[in-house]
């Protein structure tokens, strides 16, 4: 089982280089991350975009072995990236400077896109000082207010990520404010339904528990005080969060208040998609590329 980002990076370096298709790499920070990942032996970059803008950056940053495909039109860039994955010329996708809606439109195209799972979702992997293993959390980036069926798909997408972390039977905790089941807090209903779906084999090889409150997830003392014995306490691999607002706040709270080391990847398409934000540090960018390449 992979327990931290150094191990993720090590696995990414050790395996074959993943062919990373980058949608419009004409940005300094993007090329910087790609240069590092390439130098470490993680990836083999395929840069789709305006060659006249990309080539000088590649030169400047010293990125070696990059293939550049010269396309200027944003829509065509998106389509070409998706086509490369479909044709087996690339293993994973990364958003560079291309706008997210343009890239997503190409990915989600019913005929020529990369639709595979029931939905696309964002999965964050966190390394936390107070948690003994990597915590994989979803969805703080894409699915706003998932219903039960969507939550089942979120779990399936997150499970694919943790398989890359060499976890055989992932433990999934469905987070809520309380452990009581009440229709006044619908996430508690979803949680028990997901537990049953897992029991009936509808979610694959996973162990699901919930509803579980954050204190019980993070502290044996809190669990004991509440009289709850849960194998999720300090041992859940995946934490399913009720909605985007809570998940986003949790992850960002961990980053800024608890110095969490975090990487993110979009799952549910035919390949992992690295979708970074401008505010992401170089470390986050590199960790995310490493994460995508071990999935």
């Amino acid at each position: 089982m992979i327990k931290n980002f150094e191990e993720i990076r090590a696995k990414a370096v050790k395996g074959d280089r993943s062919r990373l298709v980058v949608a419009d790499a004409a940005g300094k920070s993007v090329i910087d991350a790609l240069t590092q990942a390439t130098a470490m032996g993680m990836i083999e970059p395929i840069l789709v975009g305006d060659e006249s803008k990309i080539a000088p950056l590649v030169e400047e940053m010293g990125l070696e072995g990059a293939r550049i495909i010269d396309i200027k039109d944003p829509v065509e860039i998106g389509e070409k990236c998706v086509a490369l994955i479909r044709e087996g010329e690339g293993d994973m996708l990364m958003k560079g400077k291309l706008s997210t809606p343009v890239l997503m439109k190409a990915v989600l195209d019913k005929q020529k896109g990369l639709r595979k799972g029931k939905l696309l979702s964002h999965v964050a992997v966190m390394e936390l000082a107070g948690y003994p293993k990597l915590m994989t959390m979803t969805d703080g980036g894409i699915v706003i207010n998932p219903d039960l069926g969507e939550k089942a798909a979120l779990i399936e997408n997150a499970v694919e990520v943790v398989r890359g972390l060499d976890i055989d039977v992932p433990k999934v905790a469905c987070l809520a404010a309380i452990e009581k089941i009440t229709d006044k807090q619908p996430e508690t209903l979803h949680a028990v339904q997901l537990v049953k779906m897992a029991e009936r084999g509808q979610l694959g090889k996973v162990k699901v528990e919930g509803p579980i409150a954050t204190d019980v997830l993070l502290s044996h003392e809190a669990a004991k005080a509440k009289g709850i014995q849960s194998e999720m306490t300090l041992d859940a691999d995946i934490v399913l969060v009720p909605n985007i607002a809570v998940c986003n706040a949790f992850v960002k709270g961990m980053i800024y208040l608890a110095n969490a080391r975090v990487a993110g990847v979009v799952m549910g398409a035919a390949c992992p998609i690295v979708l970074l934000s401008r505010s992401d540090t170089a470390e986050v960018k590199l960790d995310s590329i490493a994460l995508a390449s071990v999935i």
Binding site: L148, D183, L189, E199, R200, Q202
Partner: protein, 302 residues
Amino acid sequence: MELRMKTLNDIIERAKSLPGRNIALAGAHEVDSLLAVERARVEGIAGSVLVGHSDEIEAAAETAGISLDNYEIVHEPDSKQISATAVKIIKAGRADALMKGLVSTADFMRALLRTEGGLLTAKLLSHIALFEVPAYSKLLGVTDAAINIAPTLDEKATIISNSVSVFQRLGIETPKVACVCAVEKVNPSKMPCTEEAAILAGMNRAGQINGSIVDGPLALDNAVCPEAAKLKKISGEVAGDADIILCPNIESANILYKSLAYLGKCECGAIVVGTSAPVILTSRADSDATKFASIALGIAVS
């Protein structure tokens, strides 16, 4: 070791073992009802307090060929008040089970719910039938085929508790409840019954529904047939060994009830619970055996 109630006769024997029980029969001026309580008296299950207009009761008794010497008659000349008077008899502790004779269902229900605060002790009334099914290893409870039309999640939780109390009264401490749907998998958005079943199972596991083991969704086959449960790889204690079948709504429960009764030729005893005293509500279409078993069930759990 827990008791296993296998046949309606087990219920009848249990009723007989409880001494000095009485039924308050609301609207006793009806031949069928009089014949039913007479059989209960003769077989040593319970005596009856006959409530209604005494002249009419006497006339019906004569037609039925029953002597009224063995009965207390409470004369109630106002037909609209018969049910209320019967409820008052229960409230006063003079009878242990309430039975509906020839009174309007609306008056009966109103009295049941309102007279002197009514008899309701649970959040709602519910109906349960205990079937003797030759192909099954024990009595099988079916709920709710008669009262709750489209129960909500909370109402289903109460129906479970009501049904469980009946089994506990029969000596089965931890009955197994199967929340039955068309399939045993949770089908989000498309089959709401499967979603509710999973929640009920979760509530049971979380200690919010007690005194029972609840599982669901289960399809009827894997609820009552161990081989079917095994084939579908459904673990848990309920699958293949359910005591109580909670149906998703009145239609499915009614169809299950009538399939067993008319196609399977199974007899049952049925009562209404959720009250301080069991309520015996037989229908004219019921067989004599079912009427008798229903009275016995009412007394056995009183």
